[in-house]
């Protein structure tokens, strides 16, 4: 990975961090409603994997912690924020919300709020890719706790039996909502559970974007070359609670301190500084510009956008004007 790419990724990850922290503020101000799950601390997972993928070509989906995956896939941060503000200019016209960001044009196939729900959906996308004969792959990001759902086992089994081009990324942040993994899960190392389905898997440091990128390249090569599914476990940590309604009281402060020393953004920044590719001032300027752009472009757009009209309430319940509802045109 050359230094220009690293600098760009540093910028992207810092943008992601500031975007999420700004969401936090907007939520406290009650500009954002519902549930809000923030990605701060886990940035190297999405950015490392999707840097190795072909965004806009490969299909991506994830859980409800989905803003940043959508942005890395190419969904405009303005329309993501507008969606969080429940505005008609949002990617889902204000009908989805934080947990349901979609950018189908960018092949970001959605955020889903049922833990484990995307496992079979991503396998289905892979089935469609296989039928159509394309070289795209289906990438599904989910947390460690999703692996205790039946869909994990059902989907891994089907993906292997049918040789589907699907890459499962486990963002293992050690907690399922507020319950630590070793209190809820018999086998703590998630990549080991996959061996029961004869699917290749690996566990790597999810805080070091270069490590994630290298592991993702290998995984993607496997899937894209037609060898079937792959499972990559990324060890990571979220800085905030599970959602905004979670005070995070269940985590030992010492554990939080330890992980904060392994911040994916600071690690990459210091590496660039050590290599003489970046100065601390460069970084501070970058941060200032990002903060400004979030206020001046992203927040301003969301604030100034209109609400969806009431006529939209029923518009998308069923597909409008489908001729086959009436038995076709005949």
């Amino acid at each position: 990975m050359d230094s220009e790419v690293k600098k760009r990724l540093l910028h992207e990850m810092l943008f992601a961090r500031r975007f999420e922290e700004r969401c936090y503020e907007a939520y406290v101000e009650r500009k954002i409603g519902g549930f809000l799950h923030l990605y701060s601390g886990e940035e190297a997972c999405a950015y490392g994997v999707l840097e190795a993928a072909k965004v806009g070509h490969d299909y991506v989906m994830t859980s409800y912690r989905d803003h940043i995956h959508a942005i890395k896939c190419g969904v405009d941060p303005k329309v993501v924020m507008a969606e969080l503000y429940a505005k008609v200019t949002g990617c889902c016209k204000g009908l989805g919300g934080s947990m349901h960001i979609f950018g189908v044009e960018q092949r970001f196939m959605g955020g889903y709020a049922l833990v484990g729900g995307p496992f079979p959906l991503a396998a289905g996308i892979a089935k469609a890719i296989k039928m159509k004969g394309g070289d795209e792959i289906s990438i599904c990001f989910l947390g460690d706790a999703a692996n205790n759902q039946g869909t994990f086992h059902e989907s891994l089994n089907m993906a292997k039996v049918w040789g589907l081009p699907v890459l499962y990324i486990c963002e293992n942040n050690l907690y399922g909502i507020g319950t630590r993994i070793d209190r809820s899960t018999a086998v703590v190392d998630q990549y080991k559970r996959v061996s029961g389905y004869n699917i290749p898997s690996e566990q790597v440091d999810g805080q070091d974007i270069e490590v994630v990128y290298a592991a993702a390249q290998k995984a993607i090569e496997h899937v894209r070359s037609g060898k079937g599914p792959y499972f990559l476990e990324l060890m990571t940590y979220r800085y905030r609670g599970h959602s905004m309604s979670d005070s995070n009281a269940y985590r030992p402060k010492e554990e939080e301190r330890m992980w904060s020393k392994r911040d994916p953004i600071i690690m990459l920044r210091d590496r660039l500084i050590d290599a003489g590719e970046l100065t601390l001032d460069d970084y501070k300027n970058m941060d200032t510009r990002i903060l400004e752009s979030i206020e001046d472009e992203v927040i301003k757009f969301a604030e100034e956008s209109p609400e969806p009209p009431l006529e939209m309430l029923e518009k998308y319940t069923l597909v409008e004007n489908d001729p086959w509802v009436n038995g076709g045109s005949k």
Binding site: Y59, C91, L114, L121, M131, T151, V319, D322, N326
Partner: protein, 326 residues
Amino acid sequence: MSEIMFWEAIRRAHDEEMSRDPMVICMGEDIGVAGGTYKATNGLYDKYGPERVIDTPISENGYTGLGIGASYLGVRPIIEIMSVNFAWLAMDQIFNTAAKVHYMSGGQLKAPVVVRSPGGTAHQLGAQHSARMEKVFMGIAGLRVVTPSNPRQAYGLLKSAIRCDDPVFINEHELMYNMKGEVADEEFFLPLVGSEVARPGKDVTLFGYNISVHWCLQAADILAKQHGIDAEVIDLYALSPLDRQGIAASVSKTHRALIVEEAEPAVGVGSEIMAVINEECFYELDAPPVRVSAVNVPIPYNHTLEKAAIPDAKDVVKAVLKMFGK
């Protein structure tokens, strides 16, 4: 016009649509090599191969979700769930994904899947293989629900459901796959909305759907021949959305309504139709509407008790006579 069995009608719709469009696939337990529990996909595996006629593991939520995911990219899966009792396991994907993804994506995604599944009480299958779940499906916004009562409808509704961009649940019946009926030889499509007048009449409307249409027709014969009551039978092949105008039109003509359902009464087809009658044509009624439903029990294994748990034509006749004070 040919007389064919219910399963043959379903098979014909599969075959025609699969031969027309390579994106139409079917999937489910034992539907391929084994030919399908009710033969509805018999022979298709040999014709279209394992990539399009997919024998799934016994993972209802998993393969239903997989079909939904494939449908995002233009695949048109026809998912057979072997028994509606197992559809509970797939309810997460049907309810949380298929029915909602078009809405929550602001119209960006569609999930054009067909889920077919037989329910109903058959021959001593016991409590866990005798569920009637249509009332559950018809309460889900974002899902279409149809339920054929004869081979013609089984063919024509499935044809339209496959091409429709909405997710469609087709409620079939374990006892009806060998039922014979006339089906036109030329290709045709039936609307996924509306209702049919199965028998015109002027004195009372009997509302049925799926198997209960036949109980209504038998009852109407008895009522006409033995009691001089001319019953109209309305076949509600579309349960969601319901044909509110059709229901109101018939009640406005006969001024009496009786709903016959195989399921338990609470929160059901009957209670929903009564609500529609109240909302659309209450002042047309000459008598309170009545529903004939199953007894509110898990279905017993014992044959006599099983029969006692669900209604039949005699129960319908009895209820109509009571309504007329006879």
